[in-house]
């Protein structure tokens, strides 16, 4: 599933300084140089190319054939595959990081996918659009219709996003499956991080998207 299909982040793209998207730069900053990374749902390989410039050994999985072929034509190590069905083929601890960028909400089984990410990778980096964002809430509360935004323009009947969640929901899932949150950043409508010193409910209200660096929690 390409990011473009799931979530056309046009706004973010134009807002980001330089040639890379704000959320990609944020993700790349979470990855230690020299590590081995799998980008699940790598789209046309923009993030992988950014990681390559930092000396990171990146691999990708992408659902759409066009996306895969564009990646391979850029010399990237990308294979056609589906996050829901193909992650099981990878062995434990195969990667230092597994990235799921703006794709979680389009998977059939987000919980299973998340568990697989942290089986294959010692760490996972997950970003997703926050359905608790105030504009979303307002549309449902006042407008009485399923929220649509500049970044999520699809209607309820033609969207590929089948499992939307809020930051609060995601944090709850991480607790449930014993996943440790090492770092979390919420980006506002303008791609700027929401200040760290603010409480969770502010993030959940004003974060338009969130990026989490996760690791396996200790045994319960």
């Amino acid at each position: 599933m390409s990011v473009q299909e799931v979530l056309p982040l046009n706004g973010v793209a134009t807002r980001s300084p330089g040639q890379y998207r704000a959320d990609h730069l944020l993700v790349a900053d979470m990855v230690k140089p020299g590590s081995k990374v799998l980008d699940v749902g790598c789209g046309e390989g923009d993030l992988l190319q950014l990681l390559e410039t930092r000396g990171i050994d990146g691999r990708g999985i992408e659902l759409s054939r066009e996306g895969v072929n564009r990646c391979v034509a850029k010399g990237l190590a990308v294979v056609q595959g589906d996050a829901d069905t193909d992650l099981v083929n990878y062995p434990d601890d195969a990667f230092d990081y597994v990235i799921l960028s703006q794709t979680l909400q389009a998977t059939r089984q987000p919980r299973v996918v998340l568990e697989n990410l942290l089986r294959i990778g010692r760490r996972a980096i997950v970003s997703f659009p926050n359905f608790g964002f105030w504009k979303m809430r307002l549309q449902l509360l006042i407008g009485g219709h399923m929220p649509r935004t500049e970044n999520l323009p699809a209607t309820w009947y033609d969207t590929a996003n089948i499992h939307f969640c809020t930051i609060k929901d995601f944090v709850q899932l991480c607790d449930e499956i014993n996943v440790k949150m090492e770092r979390s950043v919420a980006l506002d409508l303008y791609g700027r991080p929401v200040p760290l010193n603010l409480p969770w409910w502010v993030w959940n209200m004003f974060g338009e998207q969130a990026v989490f660096l996760l690791s396996r929690g200790g045994g319960k």
């Binding site: 072929n69 850029k74 294979v79 990878y90 195969a94």
Partner: protein, 400 residues
């Protein structure tokens, strides 16, 4: 009366063919008694020879060698005019000046497989023990045998690690066998329209072809050379059947439909009324001019026996454990001989081995043959894969 025109006899005599078999117009590496080729069937083949072509120059580091592996009916003439047919090299779309595999950047090697009939030792060669053509006395060979012979050639050329091994179909099988048998000697592998094992359906088609050859009375139990003839009718039928498997329903329909050949109405005979019949007959008759019937039996058999997982306790991923080779796997949507599902199984095994792999399925209606045709997306992918590997290998492109 029902008109029947049989497939015409080849224009080239048996003498001309046997000349390329024993004295090819290529470079030849001879391996004497001290260097036998140990075959999977248990026989030590000795002496033997490998005919090969090279293009470009080996760099000082000996790090820019690319081995091209040919398919079932291919040969070493990958990028030069064929000495028998006078046609351009069989993969000039991919290999040559300005192409993704450019002799300006790489030292390109392509050898005729063992068991072939264009200069490497095979059933059409003279058996030095008897002074007569080997025929069916030639030992049965396998894909690993072909690769073992290629490795001996690469040793002879003073090359330790190949920058890339590239091939489609049976050539792709050799690519995979190279990575399984000599992982440290293959820096990058481009495996196109192939599989890690031959499917039951593919074995069935090969058996059909072999039976067609053996049903030709001119085959003489494989001893046709003693009779100075060639079972060209049987071999042509084998080629016609095989050729259908290289195409697709859509491609045949687009190319020929139900159109008639040089006529408006059916002749109410078994003449080639339809263009598609005429085309197949041409494919059959032109093939027998350059290919030996027994060699066809041996090479199809080698493909039938191919099963990498079987050599690794039935677990494909074991064949590629901890491999450092960079892989690019390519399949074509309309290829039903080596369908995408076969490539996907390979990619899953490579993922399970944490190998670095790119995998692209290219949309085309041209069937298995697409890998030999002008498919720009395939070239872009091949070029980018090799460039990226070249960068990682530290190959300095002279320009571009």
């Amino acid at each position: 009366m029902v008109g029947v025109k049989s497939i015409p006899s080849p224009a080239i005599s048996a003498d001309e063919r046997s000349h390329e078999v024993d004295h090819p117009s290529s470079q030849v590496a001879h391996f004497g008694a001290e260097q036998p080729l140990r075959l999977d069937c248990g026989v030590d083949l000795s002496p033997f020879q490998i005919a090969y072509q090279t293009y470009g120059e080996l760099n000082a580091d000996r790090s820019n060698a690319v081995l091209i592996c040919h398919a079932l009916t291919g040969d070493q003439h990958v990028a030069n005019v064929h000495p028998v047919t006078g046609k351009p090299g069989w993969w000039e779309t991919l290999v040559g000046p300005g192409r993704p595999i450019d002799p300006k950047h790489y030292f390109i090697i392509c050898s005729n497989v063992i068991g072939g009939c264009m200069g490497s030792t095979g059933p059409a060669s003279i058996n030095p023990a008897t002074g007569k053509v080997w025929g069916l006395d030639f030992p049965v060979i396998t894909i690993p045998d072909m690769v073992r012979a290629q490795a001996m050639l690469i040793d002879r050329l003073g090359i330790d690690t190949l920058f890339a091994v590239v091939g489609g179909s049976m050539g792709g099988m050799q690519v995979l066998q190279w990575t399984a048998a000599y992982p440290a000697r293959v820096y990058s592998a481009l495996a196109i329209a192939c599989a890690t094992r031959h499917s039951a359906q593919n074995i069935a088609f090969h058996e059909l072809g072999r039976q067609a050859v053996m049903a030709d009375p001119d085959w003489h139990g494989g001893g046709y050379a003693d009779h100075g003839i060639h079972p060209h009718r049987g071999l042509a039928v084998a080629r016609m059947a095989a050729h259908i498997t290289y195409l697709s329903d859509a491609a045949l329909h687009r190319k020929f439909g139900r159109r008639m050949q040089d006529r408006e109405l059916p002749t109410f005979s078994f003449d080639a009324d339809f263009q598609v019949e005429s085309y197949l007959r041409y494919q059959g008759s032109s093939f027998v001019e350059r290919f030996d019937a027994n060699s066809y039996l041996y090479l199809t058999r080698a493909m039938d026996y191919f099963d990498i997982a079987a050599d690794h306790d039935g677990v494909l991923a074991k064949a590629f454990a901890d491999i450092k080779t960079r892989f690019c796997v390519v399949s074509f949507t309309s290829d039903w001989l080596f369908p995408t599902s076969e490539s996907r199984a390979l990619v899953h095994a490579l993922n399970a081995s944490s190998a670095r792999v790119s995998f692209a399925e290219i949309e085309t209606d041209r069937g298995h043959d697409a890998f030999l045709l002008d498919v720009p997306e395939f070239f872009d992918i091949s070029r980018a894969f090799l460039q990226s590997a070249g960068k990682a290998r530290g190959l300095t492109a002279k320009d571009g």
